[in-house]
């Protein structure tokens, strides 16, 4: 008996409207979003990160020259960053709040990345990969020289750059979602 009623319900459901006109024309908002020139502003960020890599490489070179008789530790690349207290020297500490905020931003950004154009996404991913590499390298250097203020500053700057990039991605993808009715 109940099956009969449910079957009738299914027949009725197929009669519900599937084409419904929105109450306003959505095209202007779409046109604005898609006509925007491809945002290549990730490149300066990428270039900035690349410059940091060069600096770190130079620093590593000098360190290597100074201690070339000792065994050199090769830094292992890890996609997920490890926040090792020791690697920040005695002047800086990163609290658990930072880690949580970063994880949240990273999760948001991974979702937002899907909304970017393929070229933009590639640029962001490249920039992030470079930044992650830089962070790993600086950390490795700081393990050997924990009181090096220059490296500490550089590490914090790279973290800030990474956060700025994540916020920027979120900003770009959320722009298209802005409504004027709230």
């Amino acid at each position: 008996m109940n099956d009969d009623r449910e079957d009738k319900l299914m027949v009725k459901a197929r009669q519900l409207s599937t084409s419904i006109s929105p109450q306003r024309d959505l095209w202007p908002g779409i046109a604005e979003a898609i006509d925007r020139p491809v945002n290549r502003s990730w490149m300066p960020m990428f270039a900035q990160a690349a410059a940091v890599v060069l600096l770190v490489a130079a620093s590593s070179g000098i360190t290597w020259y100074a201690v070339k008789d000792n065994q050199i530790v090769v830094a292992e690349y890890r996609p997920e960053l490890m926040f090792e207290q020791a690697s920040f020297g005695s002047r800086y500490t990163l609290g658990s709040g930072f880690q949580e905020a970063r994880d949240m931003l990273m999760a948001d950004m991974n979702a937002d990345l899907d909304q970017l154009a393929p070229e933009e996404r590639e640029d962001v991913e490249k920039s992030l990969a470079v930044m992650h590499g830089v962070i790993v390298e600086i950390n490795a250097e700081l393990v050997k020289d924990p009181e090096n203020l220059y490296l500490q500053e550089m590490l914090l700057k790279t973290y800030r750059d990474e956060l700025a990039l994540m916020r920027k991605v979120g900003g770009v993808t959320k722009n298209v979602m802005l409504r004027n009715d709230i």
Binding site: L16, S17, L26, D35, D114, A117
Partner: protein, 200 residues
């Protein structure tokens, strides 16, 4: 007279087939142009498909503002991903998949946001642009009140005619889960309509 009717019907149906084929050719041409970054061609594709995309978003969210945002986002994403459209499915189906993702993305965004959407949906008046009338309007209102998972499967399978496999793929759930959600939706709808005194 009968012969005349047959001839007219045949002629009419021939014209329909021809019009449908023409539309397919036009759509393929528009897609090819849009892939070359022709936004005017994409606008024509938008005009052809917006009602079905918006309809799906409205049925899934139960709220006009959320549906507008989701439909808008779906078309923006479609533009960005157009080079990945290979024609394995109809363009409309492809758009629907993107629209479903847009809706799910908004639902996932945060629990707080999802609660807000549901509260608005409960308070919002029934959109005047929905053309359902009489008992269909009652059914439409009842569908809006279904729990999220059951509503999504019901809309995709029972209203839009997607198979459980297709609905499951769109929603990122197993085919069996889609069937279970449909069973739940049917049962809840019958209960709800009967409680409100409507004949099913």
């Amino acid at each position: 007279m009968a012969a005349l009717l047959t001839a007219e019907t045949s002629d009419y149906s021939g014209q329909m087939v021809s019009a449908i084929n023409q539309a397919k050719v036009d759509e393929a041409g528009l897609i090819a142009r849009a892939k070359r970054s022709d936004s005017q061609a994409f606008e024509q594709l938008y005009r052809m498909h917006i009602d079905r995309v918006y309809g799906l978003c409205l049925r899934m969210t139960g709220n006009t503002h959320e549906a507008e945002d989701c439909a808008q986002e779906a078309f923006i994403q479609a533009w960005n991903k157009l080079d990945r459209f290979r024609g394995a499915s109809a363009f409309g189906t492809w758009l629907h998949r993107i629209a479903v993702n847009a809706v799910l993305g908004r639902f996932r965004k945060s629990k707080r946001e999802r609660d807000r959407i549901q509260v608005v949906a409960q308070d919002a008046p029934v959109p005047a642009s929905i053309n359902d009338s009489g008992d269909l309007r009652d059914l439409s209102d009842a569908v809006d009140k279904l729990p999220e998972g059951a509503r999504q499967v019901f809309v995709l399978h029972a209203v839009y005619g997607y198979s459980h496999e297709e609905a499951g793929k769109m929603l990122g759930i197993a085919t069996g889960t889609s069937k279970a959600q449909l069973h739940r939706a049917r049962r809840l709808l019958v209960q709800q309509l009967e409680n409100e005194g409507y004949e099913v």
